[in-house]
Every structure is written in structure tokens, then in C-alpha cells.
């Protein structure tokens, strides 16, 4: 097996595939991708596959900047022949064979799959292969055999806390397809809004949203768009908690009298559906029946998380009901609710999915538990016979580094101990994008590129754990998936420009590339509501800095005393000098600008880091030990600089810290 990421320098010849295929062997020669490139499906005529082939051609055209001349005279004459015997089912389904085989030679490319879903995955691989070569774009000859490790590879998007227009959903589906994700989990209702048009209960969206919701036509469009990309759509309607917005229009559903309105702040709300009244279940029966017509997937997510029980405890009639039914605990009441819900779902041909909290002994065995608690919770539910998907460790809104997510395996920890037939109940995982701190402008940059690392965890062999290789490929794939339309890269420059009122400001960019945004839990969310502008520096910059990563690699080589090149030293010195001189120039921008003012300490810290880095380089160059006092002072400074400032962390401290920790500097 040939790991392309190991070819660090001559990247022209090394396609950066993500997720890594199971098996990949380099061949001789290369296939030119020029104006004559064509692609066609052979085998069974299938309109979904034909459309996917057309999309592939358009995508490769954007990636390469080449307008291809047209269609092949005959399918057999196409540069890329896609051979698929089967036709696609009406909708993609869990457990579909997604394997494919792809051969590229100097003469052409040949993709073979048993199913349309497999062909779609192979096309996603093909789209990552073209790279500039000695004569223009080309694909180095390669033989790939590939299939997924997990069958449930999802992305959850919360469209309730911040509204996400349908275009945002569509472009993210395109990017999901590019990294072979196959489940779109659409978190459509929460305390802050019901984002669906119900014709039976129009006050759901009418009073339970700010006017932003998806019409039924838009939902059908999204489901069809996802289907065409081999992506299942699973709706989540969170209940009985996280449902305040339902009660704005239908207060009788709640366990306490209203009035209610959709929330504008965040957290765990008290409002909870009334599990004691038959009207609640009649409402849900009709509503789920209406939704089942829109969402063809057999799985239906009912949320079920974070019921704090306060309304139930404070309600006389709920407590009376609980005593009568011997349901003395909140979770027992919720279990009662869930059992009723499960019968309703079954009547509509739907299998229940819910968060950890729904796990109780009497659930139907088909139920899928989505775990935000971790592999132990997942192992427990698998042992009890339930299927599960892992989301703990994949919370994108925490803005953790990609390598953290990459290191979380659904079958690690307690799940690693399971017998194979039990472990088989762990179907995969889902990255989760909660949107307290992301709106339609910033959400792409919170999902991508880190979700590509998670997608690799779900698809590629368990042994693919080299974070350095992952990062190197992720940086490329980040740029590649931008051609699908996601705007995670595009917003960076425009949002930085906004902070200066449009004035060019290179010093701000220097600061931005030295910093990393902090996510929920690390960033102060005090006072943030749905209407709070997400237009600050922290919102503009990504969770991880490519620049800092490059500096860390160089600093690591320099600090270890082996493998460092002159280029490494130049890179570090150049960055440190830039940071030192940047502060004065940044200071000139700040005048009377509230959006930049909060960054002044950050800029001063960066200058200090530059100075410390230069001094460390100087000592290392002259084989000097560091003065103990100086070292202690610098280390104390760095600990200070790494604390949140303006809700960002000064990532630039990391490469400097590596130098300070160099054994060659350590005082005797």
C-alpha cells in the first residue's frame, strides 16, 4: 500500500485522497486531463448515475479550470468509463454495498461498482485525483480497491438555533458527497425554532419560528438532492424536551400552561411535552404521519436529550399521572413517552433513533442510539441489543483540532472489548454541527475541513491513524471541496475585510493566521443569543491555522536537532520577525474600531512571541543554553498567552513553545 501523504515534497505526483482508500497501488505513467476529457456510464441506464457523471465532469472542470469539449461519441470512447450493472433503488438505504474499484492508466480510467452508491463513491475518489503535472493536469496511474468500514457516516446540522437557508444545506450535501458521507441528519426543531412547514399544524412554523422554515417543496428538493448523491436524510424532531418552540403555537402540548415563545437564548429549557395527555400523542401521530410523507428514510430521530424534568415535577397532573402509573422518576416518565412514540413511529413504518437518554430496557430492538456520551455508552447499548452511532468526540462546534476528532474511533474504549457480533451493532458515527455560535455565513467554516478527517475515520481502515498524513491531505481536500460550492475558505477574507470596514489590512491577516477560534465550552458564550452578530474576529478565523501548523512542523525539526533545513530556519525567522514588527502596524488600524480594539492584547502577545522565538533560534544557532530566568519568564508568558483572549487562542505560541522545550536549550 502506497500512502500518498508520505511524499511530502513532490506533491505534484501525489494525489491527496480523503478518506484514504483501503487499497491503492501506484502504476506507471499518467492520464492527461485536458480539453478532451470525457466521462460516461456504461452498463445499466440509470438517470441518477448519468447525472452524477455529468456533475463529476463539471466538478473536474472547475478543479482544473478546463472547459471540456463535450460528451464522448460513444460511452465506450469516454476517458472515464463508469461500469455499474445495477440500477439505483428509489432511495439510498442503510447497509448498501458502497464498494468500488478504480483503475487509471495513461490510456483511460475505469470505475467498476456493483451498485450506483458504490459508483458514486468511486466518482468522489476520481474527483480528488487530478493534479498539475509536467504537461498540465493529469492523474498518475493507480489501482484502487475501496469500501467503507462503517455503513452510517453522518453529518448532523442544527438549523433551529440559527437558520440555514436551503442553499447552505445543498452545498454542504455536495461537500459531504465529496468525502463519502452518506447520512444527513437534519436537526429541524429545538427550543429556538421549528424549521418545517406543517400543513396540519401551521402554527408550528407560524408561531414557532421567526419566519424562517423550509417549505415542503424545499424539503422534497433537499431529499432528492441528497438521494442523487447517495445520502440518506434523517429528520430529527427533538422531543419531549428542547421543544419550547412547538408550544408557541400549540401551548396545550406542554406540561405547564403558557404562553410560550421560541427561545432566543441557549441552554436547557424547562418546557417539556406533556406525556400524560392523549392529545399529545394524537398530535404527534398526525404530525409524524405528515413528516413521513416528506422523509422517505425508514429512520426517524426523536431527539430525547436533556429533559430536566422540572415542568413534570412542578405539575400536579403530571405527578398524579406518574403516581398512578408508578413512574416516579423523570426518566421513567420519558420512557413511557418514548414507548408511546415508538408505537406511533412503527405505525408509520419508521424506526426510532434517539440520543443516549432514550436507552431503556424496553425499547424495540431495532432502535438506534446516537451517543453524545461516548463509546462506553455505545458499548452498553450494543450489549443490550441496540444499534448505535457515535457522536461523542465529533462535536464540530467545540472547534477542536481535526486530530482530536480523527483520534476518536467508534470501536475504541469499551467498544473495543465487544464480541464481533455485538460490535457489529455499532453502525458508525456522525459529526455534529450545533449552531449556537454559527450562522449561515460561518457554518461552512465550522464544518469544513475538519469533517473530512471525521469522514476518513468513518470510511477508512482503523489503522489509518497518522495525524500528520491526515493534516497534509486535509489541507488539499479543504481546497478541493471548495469547488463543490462550500464557502469555508471564501468567507475568511471577506469577514476579515469587514472588520476594517473594507480597508486592506495585512497586519490583521498576520494576526488571524497566528490565532485559532475557540468553540462552545471554551469560548465565553455569556449574553450570546440568536440575534447576536457573529461578525467578530473569532467568527472570521478558522479552528486551526495552517500557518501555525507549518511553523510547528519546522519548529519540531529544529527543536529535535535533526532533520531541520535552512528553509525551516528561514520560515521560522521570517514569521518571528513579522510578528514582532506587526504590532505597530496593527496598532495603527485599531483607532476607534470596536471590532479590532479587543485584539490589541493578542497583537502585543504575538510580538512578544516573535521576540522569544528569535531569541530561542539565536541560542540554538550558537549552541547556547537558555538562561534559566529567561526560560522561566518565557514559559510563564506562553502559559498566559494561551489563555483565551477575545475568544481566540494564540496558536502561534505552540511553535515557540516547541523551541523553548528543545533539549539543546535546557539549562543544566
Amino acid at each position: 500500500m502506497w500512502l500518498p501523504a508520505l511524499a511530502l515534497s513532490a506533491f505534484g505526483a501525489a494525489p491527496a485522497l480523503m478518506p484514504l482508500p483501503v487499497k491503492m497501488d501506484a502504476g506507471a505513467g499518467a492520464l492527461a486531463i485536458d480539453a478532451h476529457f470525457t466521462a460516461a456510464a456504461t452498463g445499466a441506464a440509470d438517470p441518477r448515475l448519468a447525472a452524477a457523471v455529468d456533475r463529476l465532469v463539471a466538478l473536474v472542470s472547475r478543479e482544473t479550470g478546463i472547459a471540456f469539449a463535450g460528451k464522448p461519441a460513444a460511452a465506450a470512447e469516454a476517458t472515464l468509463k463508469v461500469e455499474c450493472a445495477a440500477r439505483a433503488p428509489l432511495y439510498p438505504k442503510l447497509g448498501e454495498d458502497e464498494s468500488y474499484q478504480l483503475d487509471v492508466t495513461a490510456e483511460g480510467a475505469h470505475l467498476k461498482a456493483a451498485t450506483v452508491d458504490g459508483a458514486l463513491r468511486g466518482l468522489a475518489t476520481f474527483a480528488q485525483l487530478p493534479a498539475p503535472g509536467p504537461h498540465g493536469f493529469e492523474i498518475p496511474a493507480v489501482h484502487i480497491e475501496d469500501s467503507p468500514r462503517f455503513q452510517w457516516r453522518g453529518l448532523m446540522l442544527d438549523v433551529s438555533r440559527h437558520w440555514m437557508p436551503v442553499e447552505v444545506v445543498l452545498r454542504n450535501l455536495d461537500a459531504m458527497a465529496a468525502v463519502k458521507l452518506n447520512v444527513f441528519h437534519w436537526h429541524r426543531s429545538d427550543d429556538q425554532g421549528v424549521r418545517v412547514e406543517s400543513r396540519l399544524y401551521p402554527r408550528l412554523q407560524g408561531k414557532g419560528s421567526d419566519g424562517h422554515f423550509y417549505t415542503q417543496a424545499e424539503i422534497r428538493r433537499v431529499v432528492a438532492f441528497a438521494r442523487d448523491r447517495g445520502i440518506r436524510v434523517i429528520p430529527e424532531f427533538d422531543m419531549p424536551g428542547h421543544s419550547t418552540s412547538w408550544f408557541a403555537g400549540y401551548p396545550a402540548l406542554a406540561s405547564a400552561p403558557g404562553p410560550y415563545h421560541a427561545g432566543s437564548d441557549f441552554g436547557v429549557f424547562d418546557a417539556t411535552m406533556d406525556p400524560t395527555r392523549e392529545q399529545t400523542y394524537a398530535f404527534l401521530d398526525a404530525f409524524i404521519g405528515e413528516m413521513a410523507l416528506l422523509f422517505p428514510d425508514p429512520f426517524f430521530h426523536i431527539g430525547g436529550d436533556e429533559v430536566n424534568g422540572r415542568q413534570w415535577k412542578e405539575s400536579a397532573h403530571v405527578q398524579a399521572f406518574a403516581r398512578a402509573h408508578k413512574l416516579t422518576q423523570t426518566h421513567e416518565l420519558q420512557l413511557y413517552f418514548n414507548r408511546r412514540l415508538q408505537r406511533i413511529l412503527a405505525r408509520h413504518g419508521r424506526t426510532m433513533v434517539g440520543w443516549d437518554e432514550i436507552l431503556e430496557p424496553d425499547l424495540a430492538k431495532g432502535t438506534v442510539i446516537q451517543s453524545w456520551r461516548g463509546q462506553a455508552s455505545l458499548a452498553e447499548s450494543a450489549t443490550k441489543g441496540y444499534r448505535g452511532v457515535l457522536s461523542w468526540g465529533y462535536y464540530l462546534d467545540h472547534l477542536s483540532p481535526a486530530k482530536f476528532h480523527y483520534g476518536v474511533d467508534p470501536l475504541a474504549g469499551a467498544a473495543a472489548e465487544l464480541a464481533p457480533e455485538v460490535a457489529g451493532r455499532i453502525l458508525g458515527g456522525e459529526a455534529c454541527m450545533w449552531t449556537e455560535l454559527a450562522d449561515s455565513e460561518t457554518v461552512d467554516s465550522r464544518i469544513w475541513p475538519r469533517t473530512a478527517a471525521i469522514a476518513e475515520r468513518f470510511w477508512s481502515p482503523q489503522a489509518a491513524t497518522d495525524a500528520a498524513s491526515m493534516y497534509q491531505r486535509m489541507e488539499v481536500v479543504s481546497r478541493l471541496i471548495a469547488w463543490t460550492g462550500v464557502e469555508h475558505r471564501a468567507v475568511y477574507g471577506s469577514m476579515l475585510g469587514r472588520l476594517t470596514g473594507g480597508h486592506p489590512a495585512p497586519p490583521l491577516r498576520v494576526l488571524a493566521e497566528a490565532s485559532e477560534a475557540l468553540g462552545l465550552g471554551k469560548r465565553s458564550a455569556r449574553g450570546i443569543e440568536t440575534g447576536t452578530p457573529l461578525n467578530r474576529f473569532v467568527d472570521a478565523i478558522p479552528a486551526e491555522s495552517e500557518t501555525v501548523r507549518a511553523l510547528e512542523l519546522a519548529a519540531g525539526r529544529v527543536a529535535s536537532g535533526s532533520g531541520a533545513s535552512q528553509t525551516d530556519l528561514d520560515l521560522l525567522r521570517g514569521a518571528f520577525e513579522l510578528w514582532m514588527s506587526n504590532d505597530a502596524q496593527f496598532e495603527a488600524l485599531v483607532d476607534d474600531n470596536a471590532l479590532l480594539g479587543e485584539l490589541q492584547p493578542l497583537s502585543q502577545h504575538l510580538a512578544a512571541l516573535g521576540r522569544a522565538g528569535l531569541e530561542a533560534l539565536e541560542d540554538l544557532a550558537h549552541d547556547h543554553k537558555a538562561a534559566p530566568d529567561w526560560l522561566a519568564a518565557r514559559n510563564a508568558e506562553i502559559a498566559d498567552f494561551l489563555k483565551p483572549t477575545a475568544d481566540v487562542t494564540l496558536a502561534a505560541a505552540r511553535p515557540v513553545k516547541l523551541l523553548l522545550d528543545a533539549p539543546a536549550l535546557a539549562p543544566k
Copy 2:
């Protein structure tokens, strides 16, 4: 009058307006733009104005990153009140009153205009006003009175040589509105393609294009979209030359037997309509009648340029006709054709517009001459009684600097000598975007931001000629108009990323910011055809480098020996050191990459410039004169470096040249 651009440092308080208003006085205080911002039209109810107000709110929301809470309870309570007594005519018309008055105080903003077009222009001004202030976004109090200098302020877009999908047209209309342009001249047919759906003559688009053309529904959509923004749409169908593509489907229209096909290369073609046959005029009569239903503007552009006459000279029947009618010269035959055409246009209620070549004594007096030859030609036609618009000096595809275009005045040169009533026939001008070397991906970056400078020439008082002020404001407006949707800034990063196959490559960006793309006439167009990929370095980078401009300003101050700051010296030194060290890092990228390989000399030249710049700074710092040999050698190098390499010019040579020319360096 307060020229905002003069406030060079504290840009937070200085809105960068473009075009500059006629009169602008700063007031006291500032209007906060926060979540409570609202806008509403008062006065006559007009759906076009109401929609424009909604668009303004959405645009300001994007500019500031603030989601505004909603509509005002009553129009009178809106933050921005737009008062307009009149309702809009069905379509915008030449000579409409576009004046407006705008007052902003700490309490609110008040826009007054006599017409909806005037209100639209005032809204465009308002959109440029919000800037970050000490408490967030705000608008410093201001009183503005404004009206245009010229009534015809256009942008011509060639959609024949490279196809421009309707989205490209729409987003450019939005950007045009942002800088108060009011004529969209749609160059819809040329040798390379007829880009319109004709139902009478379907082979026009069927055989005369590569399948890319606008349907009639799309044309209606564009015309309505432009109308809503106060922009007239003038179609151009170039004839009798530049019409090869027509003959692919209708060879009998040509002066020589076919077969013909739409051109894939560029230049002046021989194929010309047959002016001798009645069928030609019957065809054009029916076709223009069909087009007149789509394009409501009373002006209709018939091209008329670059008829080389070869087909006419070589055709026995055309020559016989010419002799019979005493039309011995090509231009006499063309005049005959034009007169016939003019009668057809008149029958359909249309006034003829054409390029210089159509100017002949017998034209109807209402005719408008569009001059690509210059003000002398325009003055001549005005003297003869014809109206005119200037396009010479505004050819965007030449990629000239903005200051060149900015310096071209429709009423300069021979036109400056005209009596007022004659000069009044010069209606304005049009920026021209020919697309031999631009496709739908790159065209925005060839139009913007330089067209903003041209728009200012057409709108603002003649006395506004300070190029430094223009550049400073254009850099801001370039970022502002990106919020309308044009992608001139967004494509830069993605196209550079493509050159490396998606690998992050800061050294390529350093080279890009030191270089400027060369346009038609300066760039080698040899071998370029419609299908040639426009995916090279030259296509990715803009016509002007902001970085180099900043360096030129600093170098100018240093070289003159007055006004230079330590920041200037730091900026120059930092850039020169970066250029020197960049080449080794760039070299590491180039391996086996054809798209980067052509840039190697450029990168080497840049390193040499860095070295020369550092040496010059060193001499200046020590009050040394330059050694004559050294100076001669450096000047010779720079002359060499300024020659085109890989179709770009190394703009970085300019600031270095400024230092070399410093009087303090000159040998005795």
C-alpha cells in the same frame, strides 16, 4: 466640501465613497448600525423602490454581519427613511433625474429623491457608508447632495467570445448598481456565437453557438432585474461584420457561399452579411422585431465595426450591385446597409447605436455613436449632430491600471473644445469587457474593481482627478461590492490553489502579490482559442497589485527624503527580505508542475529585486551615493524584469525603481 479620502490614517471615521458625491459635508455624531436598524420607503408606494429598500437592508446586513431584527412598526419609525414622491416608469429611461439628497445624523437617516432612480442612487451611497466605529458599526453624520455628470454610464459585456451564464450577468448588474452605472450593453453576438434564443430563426443559436445561449425567459429575467436596479439594457447584435456565427445556421445571409461555423479563434473575420439581397433585410426585420419584444429600451446597438470588406470585394454579385448603386468603397456599401437597417429599426421604434465606423453624413440625427477611437472621433460626430458615448480608454480587457481609465475624460481633448450645446451630445461612456481572455470564472476580476474608477469618471464632477484618493477608496469599494455577489476577490485564492493542486503554497502568493496580469495587446494571445483553458497564473492574478501600490507609496516617501516613517522602512525591508528568501521556497513547489514552471524566471527576478531594494535602502540609510556601475546594472535589470514573463509583469520592480531613482542615491 470634505474629501473623505484625505483622511489616510483614521479610516474608521472616513467612508470611502465611490463615485464621489458632488457635495458632502460632515456633521457631528454618528448613527449606530445595530440589530435595530430598519429602512422603509415613505411617499408614493412603488414596488420597485420597496424591493430596493429590502435589498439595501440585506446588503448592509452582509456588509456588517448583523442580522437585523425586522421591519419597522411604521415607515416613519425606520432608521433610514426613503422619501420619493414619484413612482417609477415601466423601464428606466435616458435622461432620468437621478439626483438625491441624503442626511445622516445620530438619530436617523433621510434620503430624498424626486424619482425612484434618484432614490436607487442614494441607496447605493448609503450602502457604502457603514464602517466600524468605537461602539460597533456606525455612519458618521453627513449631508450629501448628489447628481450625475453624465446620463449614460455603461458597462459592455461580450458574452459571445466566452459564454457568461445568466448568474454572471445578474451579479454584475448588482455590482454596477453599487457604483451607480445605469446602462448594461449586452454584446450578444459575434463571430464566436449568437447568444440568444430566437424562435423565428432557431438555427441562430442552434448552429451558431456551442449550445450556450440565453433563453427568452432568461433575457426577460435579466431585463427585469436590471430595471429594478435602474439599469437600461441595450442589446448589441454586431452586423454586417463580426457575424460569422449567424451564417452557421443561415449561410444565405453571408456574402459568399458557406459552409460556416462559429469561430473558435479570434480576430477580424472575413465573413460579412450580404448587403445586396432583399432577403437579408427581411430576415433582419423579422429578427429585430422579435428582439424588440424582449428588449424594451428604445436604443438598439448594431455593432458595425471592423468590416474588412474582403468578402464584398471578392464577390461578383456584390461588386455588380456596388457598381449599379455607385457604392464603390466598402464603407459606402456599409452605409447603404446601415441606412436600410436604420429604417428597419425605426419601424420597430428603435434608435440606432453603433461603433465609430457607422458614422456617415446621412445617418438619422438621433443615432448614437459609441467611440472606440477616442474623443476626437466623438467630437467629430457631435459636431455633425450625433450623440455619442466614449469607450476608448475604457477597455477593461487591456488590463490597464485604474488610474489610466480614471484619467480619460469623455470631454477631454478635441471634445473639450466643443460649444456647450454640442458637447451636450456626448452622453457619457461605457467600460468595455471583451472576452477573448476572460471566461465566466475570471470575468468578474477583469471588470472589478477597476470599473468603479470608470464609474466615478462618469458620475462625479470633472474636478475629481486625484488618483491617490481614487485608489484608496477603490480598495475599500472593491471589498464592499463583493458583498453584492461578484467574485472578483473570491477567485484569487481558489485559482492560485488550483495551480498547486490544492496544496497550501505561501511562496506562490508572495509571487502573485508582486505581479500583475497583462491584458490583450500586451499579453501574447498566440494560439489562444475559445477552448484554451484560462487557468494559468496570469488568469488568477489581478491587473493591479494592492501590495505593490502600498510599497510604491512607501518607496515614494523614502525616495523623496520627506515624510517617510519607520513603518515605511519596515514595510519595504520586510517585503524585500521576503522576496529574497521566497525563491528557494518557490523552487521547491515547481517540481514537475507545468503551471508553475513558467514562473521560475519571475521568482528569480523577484529575488534580485529584493536584493537591489535592500541595498538601496542600506545606501539611503547611510547617506551613501550609489556606485554608478551598480546603479546602471540594477536599472538594466529592472528594464529587463519589466518585460512580460509568463504574460505577467513584475510590478514589484516599480517600488524598487523609485528607490533607485532617489535623488539622494544619484552619483555626482
